[in-house]
């Protein structure tokens, strides 16, 4: 099989305004009610009241989503002010930068010959095909061209400020980094060194003295949590982004709103699978908080949930 036969149909970004022609979709699921439908309806209501009632509104999500069309929707959820703090994983920076700088990802399929893909220099992320040149090379170019001017300002950077600098330099309306910079919404990436962006920063630092100061990111999230009156979070997926969000929330007796969207199960004791009620015992969610867990793939759930935020 030839490379060009696999790289045909590009991934495009879903935008919030695309939802408008369908309107609020959750009323359909209200009728269905059984079984997971009810949790989706409840999640929609909680997210709506959180957006109105909470002054600290956290969106946490994992990087895999940023390879999909959800990227544009997430950027719009920030642009429209629904969320004012982002907590995510290292790969979010990779995929967002790569795509903002013209890296094109393609519609593919799970059932692929991965050895053949390797021969053809194509990465597979689920059913998305990522040509080598659309990913690592793009991130490397961004770091190598932006960092020299960034270190002229100062050598040592909090990660969220450094990410604003990158967001400022990419000209892409559906970029999450760009949206964060435009609205000065901090993107907290506790695992920033885990991925192409972090590796390229490390390489660059050997020559220009760049230093990351993650304590400043901690100070910021601490100050935001301590100064908030009512806090809520939409937590999409698990791992470090979920944990970091609820971890800091414990210092204000826990979240007032918590909507989990996940496919992870609680039986193995994993943080990713833990339900909001488990977080109550850790002071990370308040006992009287409005909570729900929606079991499902975020690529299906998130557009439906976002439709609850239409006027």
């Amino acid at each position: 099989m030839k490379r060009e036969d696999l790289l045909i149909d590009p991934i495009v970004d879903l935008r919030f305004k695309d939802l408008e022609k369908y309107g609020e979709l959750l009323s359909l699921y209200e009728k269905v009610y059984g079984f997971s439908a009810a949790s989706l309806v409840k999640a929609g209501r909680i997210v709506r009241s959180m957006v109105k009632g909470a002054d600290l509104r956290i969106l946490s999500f994992t990087a895999n989503l940023v390879s999909t069309g959800l990227r544009g929707l997430i950027a719009d959820l920030i642009r429209r002010g629904f969320f004012n703090l982002i907590v995510t994983t290292g790969g979010t920076v990779d995929h967002d930068l790569a795509r903002a700088l013209g890296g094109t990802y393609y519609k593919g399929y799970f059932e692929s010959d991965d050895s053949m893909l390797r021969e053809l220099k194509i990465h597979r992320l689920g059913n998305i095909f990522i040509p080598y040149e659309a990913y690592g090379q793009k991130v490397e170019e961004a770091v190598r061209s932006y960092i020299p001017e960034i270190v002229k300002v100062k050598k040592e950077w909090p990660v969220y400020e450094l990410l604003w600098e990158f967001g400022r330099r990419v000209n892409d309306d559906s970029s999450i980094l760009r949206a964060c910079n435009d609205l000065k919404v901090p993107m907290i990436v506790p695992g920033v060194i885990d991925g192409s962006f972090g590796t390229n920063l490390f390489i660059s630092s050997q020559f220009n003295g760049l230093r990351l100061n993650l304590f400043e990111d901690m100070r910021l999230i601490k100050d935001l949590v301590f100064s908030s009156n009512v806090s809520g979070a939409l937590l999409v997926g698990g791992g470090i982004s979920k944990h970091h969000t609820i971890w800091w929330s414990q210092f204000r007796d826990g979240l007032d709103y918590a909507v989990y969207v996940t496919t992870a199960q609680e039986f193995d004791g994993s943080l990713s699978g833990a339900m909001p009620r488990e977080a109550i015992s850790w002071n990370k969610v308040k006992p009287d908080a409005k909570t729900v867990t929606v079991y499902g793939d975020a690529t299906i759930v998130l557009p439906l949930l976002a439709s609850a935020l239409l006027d």
Partner: protein, 131 residues
């Protein structure tokens, strides 16, 4: 300063390169062609010429690096004060103090009158051989 420039891709085992401001001799190079991180990367393992500390550097092969210029000279030992050695250059007859080499094999041979090869790198001097 007394340096030349090259790229990481041109370095070989035995080459000299500046890492963290220290002149180092390359002892190992591993190249990785990873799609994930763009251009081919080399991981360079080197040993500091002064102090023998191990240093590593990871960089794309087209990254420019500094190569310290090594000036090689012959000198004669005038005196051995323990930690330091007084040396006279056999071309310029200039005399100066130099650190006692840490290599065990040199210990017995270091005595007044002995000829040595010494290198000047980045304005620092080191005895590398005792004749």
């Amino acid at each position: 300063m007394s340096v030349n420039y090259t790229t990481v891709g041109e370095l070989k085992v035995g080459s000299y390169v500046m890492i963290d401001g220290e002149p180092c001799r390359v002892v190992d190079i591993t190249k990785a062609k990873t799609g994930k991180h763009g251009a081919a990367k080399a991981n360079v393992v080197a040993v500091s010429v002064f102090g023998n500390a191990k240093k590593t550097l990871m960089a794309p092969v087209d990254q420019q690096v500094e190569v310290p210029i090594v000036e090689k000279h012959i000198g004669q030992i005038l005196a051995n004060t323990g930690d330091r050695i007084q040396l006279m250059d056999l071309e310029s007859y200039e005399t100066f103090d130099i650190d006692m080499p840490s290599e065990e094999e040199f210990k017995d041979k270091i005595k007044p009158g002995a000829e040595v090869e010494y290198w000047v790198i980045m304005n620092r001097k080191k005895i590398v051989r005792v004749k």
